[in-house]
Amino acid sequence: MRISSFFYTVRQGIRNLFRNKWFTLASIATISACLFLFGLFYAVVANFQHIVRTAEQGISVSVFFDEGLDDSRIQEIGELIRRRPEVSNAEFVSADQVWEEFRTEYFGDYEDGFPENPLANSAHYDIYLNDVSMQSALVTYLESLSGVRMVNRSELVATTLTGANALIAYVSMGIIAILFAVSVFLISNTVMIGISVRKEEINIMKYIGATDFFVRSPFVIEGMLIGLIGAAIPLGIIYGVYNAVLAYISERFPMLVSLLSFLDIRDVFNVLTPVSLGIGIGIGFLGSVVTVRKHLRV
């Protein structure tokens, strides 16, 4: 293709946007509406997952040792625990640290009156997991280790969080699939109507001797531009809405902000921007290619 033909094709694609104003507006509005819903839903789901993940990271399993177990075995147990893939971190807490913490919390500045550490057998490892759903497997393993007296865990919280995570994943997959199907249906219909109107134009091009590529290119460029604009608009709106909602929550519900941690807008947009633009441009590209193809057999 000549360079002048390439620029001509691009120019025609851009001009088509203005030649068919109503079609352009309808297509952009359809793509924007679908991607706005998608983006909004993604932002909510991503925050839910972030909150659940943050809660998961705070859950620990504590491992207590047999009375009088020597330090080398305790260290060995620590090594074995850290080697487990589901373990993100294992912190050793000595009996003195436990007592100090307890004493500070319950006696404050008062003398406790104990000559020795009453919690002498309370040295343990606090284990944090990468994936809270692996807690039972880890507990079974820990209980099988020699020198381990007791393993404390919070089964209910772990099960609830695992369940919540799975539920969010399934619901979000389902809703995203529905949104995607609806988007493709609406967008392909809009593109089809727009191109049917221009069937005559395509026929004329073919009669004159235009190749399929030459006929298709301006439509594809037009479709991709519509997809790009259709994706950029909801991204801008969601950016503004997200910031406003976070500001509103932190102003009106400061307690909520201290309990729950919301995702930074950059974290949301690092994923949402390429995905939305990809879907928008992809749908514009596919929609125009598929629809023009129907009219190329002249």
Partner: protein, 242 residues
């Protein structure tokens, strides 16, 4: 074998060859039956006949918009029953085509409509700027290059269509009822242009109902009736079917 001729085997300067061509639409009676037609380079041929005689089907076959049901069709060395889909654009670039309803791009001006045909064959912008004004001058529309089709009369629109068909210097010009939507004055002007184009060496095939023009121009006339060629005369006239 005559039925499997290739480009080099087209006899003499024959540019269009139809041998026993039949065309039938699905489940219907054939529209064209055993049509044999030979047109030489540089000829001017009228195809006449009533509605439903198969004239437009013949033009569509020559354009390779339709494919034949049986027989053999060769246009400018292209065996149209075997031509690959990707080769069709190249074939059509040697054909100019004009329709009764003009088929101009309504949202583009006269210059852009004609330049569009040059873009398709990948002419440079410099060449387009040279060729388009000169062909518009030939059809008498040099002063209206900025006008949109809806600002032009029927005759002027047909001239634009003619300019678009001619700008790529086609070997054959196919005109399907080119005067069908025009008044007598404009009809004659278009026919004079077609005659002038033919005198410059382009083969011109005109499908028409216009008895007066056919009788006055004294060119070759091929008459079709119910899909069959009923007469083919040099310097013929319009055949009365009744």
């Amino acid at each position: 074998m005559a039925m499997k001729k290739k480009k080099s085997t087209v006899p003499g300067d024959e540019i269009i060859t139809l041998t026993n061509v039949c065309k039938a639409y699905s489940a219907g009676a054939p529209t064209l039956k055993n049509v044999n037609l030979h047109i030489k380079k540089g000829e001017f041929v009228f195809i006449v006949g009533d509605s439903g005689s198969g004239k437009s089907t013949l033009i569509k076959l020559l354009l390779r918009e339709l494919t034949i049901t049986s027989g053999y069709i060769n246009v400018m060395g292209y065996d149209l029953s075997r031509i690959r889909h990707r080769k069709i654009p190249k074939f059509r670039r040697n054909l100019g085509v004009v329709f009764q309803d003009f088929r101009l791009l309504k949202d583009r001006n006269v210059y852009e409509n004609v330049a569009f045909a040059q873009r398709i064959i990948q002419k440079s912008t410099k060449e387009i700027k040279r060729n388009v004004p000169s062909i518009l001058a030939v059809v008498g529309l040099a002063g209206k290059y900025k006008a949109k089709p809806k600002q032009l009369s029927g005759g002027e629109q047909q001239r634009v269509a003619l300019a678009r068909a001619l700008v790529n210097k086609p070997t054959i010009l196919l005109a399907d009822e080119p005067t069908g939507n025009l008044d007598p004055k404009n009809s004659w002007e278009i026919m004079k242009l077609l005659e002038q184009i033919n005198e410059n060496g382009t083969t011109v095939i005109v499908v028409t109902h216009n008895r007066e023009i056919v009788n006055a121009m004294q060119k070759r006339v091929v008459a079709l009736k119910k899909g069959v060629i009923i007469s083919d005369e040099e310097k013929g006239g319009y055949i009365d079917e009744d």
